[in-house]
Symmetry: C2
Subunit: 131 residues, 2 copies
Amino acid sequence: MSAHPDLTRNQALVLDRLEKAEAPLSAYALLDQLREEGLRAPLQIYRALDKLLDIGLAHRLESLNAFIACARPHCHPSGLIAFAICERCGQVSEFSDDVVSDRLADWAGREGFVPTRTIMEIRGECRACAA
Amino acid sequence: MSAHPDLTRNQALVLDRLEKAEAPLSAYALLDQLREEGLRAPLQIYRALDKLLDIGLAHRLESLNAFIACARPHCHPSGLIAFAICERCGQVSEFSDDVVSDRLADWAGREGFVPTRTIMEIRGECRACAA
DNA sequence: CAGGGCAATGTAATGCTATAACATTTGCAG
DNA sequence: CTGCAAATGTTATAGCATTACATTGCCCTG
């Protein structure tokens, strides 16, 4: 089902759907897709998602209340990830930028703010859709 | 009630509560506070919030599903605003950084992505709470 | 001053997102 | 085998947001 053998059945089912999706999926959209697999309750989805987020195989898009599979599940040491979300086609691009991370870290340092998690989401239109 | 004479009653009530709050307020928290002023339905709050967001007097924190008054309502030409959210005391600091904006604009330019709105939220602990 | 147009308002109902609480099962290390 | 930790299953509930429709107030124009 997926190249991640440590996952439980529910986790693998959820990840599989996220990987096959062309746009972010909400927890309830996942649930609808997975009813035929026997899943019945939102909590089953949320628990699987929590785990996938923990281990970096999925991301949550805060401005969409939706989830995607990590674009590069094998090299996810990086700190800050930014998401560019096309509001027309739903496609999401992941990228990171050390200059941005450094700049934010500098600001935090000066303020004495201790960051635990940074959200960065750019909404707009991708090249194809903007054309 | 507030130094923004163009606002309607509902808008002014909502802004007033946001300005007096020490932490972000959800739409329903606002509604609870404003029942004594005669407001009864979530939509009354959401409509006022929409307007306040439009004209830049309030901000929405996506990762919290909550709202704050703009920290500097008089100089809000700036592009990108970042929020540092203390998860312990709820305090939110607003700041912006041209280097970060430029960097994101560069990335967008290279990708052909046309941004309409950028969300940037840093969760963590403020200086006082981290001590 | 009448009437048209527009933004804001009021109200009810509904839909989507997320978690609490509790019982049970599974997998694995000792 | 036993006992613990993690995952699961289920029901109910809490929290966030919007749709639809009727009404009101106000400004502008004729």
